[in-house]
Point group: C2
Chain length 270, copies 2
């Protein structure tokens, strides 16, 4: 291992090893998740007692086992099981099912997220759709890779003005007090579509969506997405245009064409 | 051919023939649509000059050719090319891409819709997802059939109260003046998810969604869906609980558990 303790960038061979483990972790999560997808839930099950919870917990445990076996000193932060080795300079950030509503309703547009952070900076991120077999792999400073059975090529598209832009967010219900700001942005863009969670960011990286603005994201929601978006030519920041931080306010912007960042920030009041 | 001119129900062997042609039409549409899915569009293309339009028109022409070759005297009503044999007692109703925003943004949750109407009553309907390979086939009076690679079994689920229900609609932007009514319904249900168009009704037929309320639907949006939903144990009506009509007001309710129909109508002010 080189560099991680001092905060310098890891060497290329280390990165390749991290990516291999991240892909193995995503594979392990997918095996668990596919067993639960499209199982019909009783309508009156409590959230804590449901197959969703089982899938979420089982998948996170599977990912943690893969990572710990190879990198026992690394930190791991997951939505379900909290933090392990909190002070480690390299920390894995896991979200086994990003897009719980999509998963519960049987829509194959949720994703498993795996990221490796050095401080606040994601070194790599994977967006994996375990049902369709689509996977985006982003590494800081590298071109994003994508594979999947439905086609699609990596590269965000040129879209110089918001009036031409395809805007997306998971649900207008996520904004709370920020709903007015969202509405201003939505009013200025060409079209708006809903749904998608991490999958929508993957589609931005393929050139099908131009702007995503969301609120209330946790670090495990955005850490894996950032290198995928930036490695496809896009940008991802908070609502003020500043780099995303682990202790940030949860507001996130992603744009495919960097020219859209300034007008998006302005409309959101950042 | 038996019965269609008089308005009596067609014989079983006629229905089997109609279903075979409907499936062939959906196959033909899918071949066209898959060629265009995930092709990156220039952000500044006009809607009338885009690959979406090409896919829509090409797919509808392919479906019309299949149907006309076998049933030249039947009526055909499609979103793109209008009506043919308007006075025929049996009319095919086609929507090659239901879920244009999903198609444009690369989400595999749009669908091709094929229905056969006798008067206002759908005799059969197909919801086809040509990218994932999922297909729902509904026939009046029969149990809905479903096939696809991601699992799922036909049958809406028991959900006796709205408080337990999973609610869905394509976008809150579809309601216009009906937005307040939608909000009352959304406030009374357990959870709300957005996106999906016809695909969400397919998921209701698999027991993953309990209530869908939408507005501004055309006959080609709902005709294929109704037999799929009702053949899975659900109900589909207008916002007053009345049967859907070709010249109706575009407001649609689908419920998986028939017990949800009355409280849904009440909250929507029907």
């Amino acid at each position: 291992m080189t560099g991680d303790a001092a905060g310098a960038a890891p060497a290329d061979q280390d990165i390749a090893g991290f990516v291999a483990v991240a892909e193995a972790a995503a594979d392990a999560a997918g095996e668990v998740i596919r067993r639960y997808f499209r199982s019909v839930l009783d309508a009156d099950l409590k959230a804590d007692d449901s197959p969703v919870t089982d899938a979420d917990r089982g998948a996170e445990q599977a990912m943690r086992a893969v990572i710990s076996a190879t990198f026992p000193t690394h930190g791991i932060l997951g939505e379900e099981f909290g933090v392990q080795n909190a002070a480690a300079p390299l920390r894995w950030v896991l979200d086994p099912i990003d897009g719980t509503r999509a998963f519960i309703t049987g829509r194959p547009v949720f994703g498993s997220l795996v990221a490796l952070l050095q401080g606040d900076r994601p070194l790599l991120g994977i967006i994996d759709q375990p049902v369709t077999g689509e996977r985006w792999v982003g590494v800081a400073g590298q071109t994003t890779r994508f594979r999947g059975p439905f086609g699609g090529r990596v590269g965000s598209r040129a879209c110089p003005t918001l009036a031409q832009a395809e805007l997306s967010c998971t649900s207008p219900e996520m904004f709370g007090a920020d709903l007015e700001a969202w509405r201003k942005l939505s009013g200025a863009t060409g079209r708006t579509s809903f749904g998608g969670d991490c999958y929508a960011y993957g589609l931005l990286a393929l050139g099908h969506i131009d702007v995503i603005a969301e609120a209330d994201l946790k670090v495990w929601d955005w850490a894996a997405i950032l290198p995928v978006v930036e490695g496809a030519g896009g940008r991802m920041t908070d609502w003020h245009g500043a780099p995303l931080r682990v202790d940030g306010d949860g507001r996130v912007i992603a744009v495919g064409d960097p020219a859209l960042l300034a007008p998006t920030i302005e409309l959101l009041g950042g």
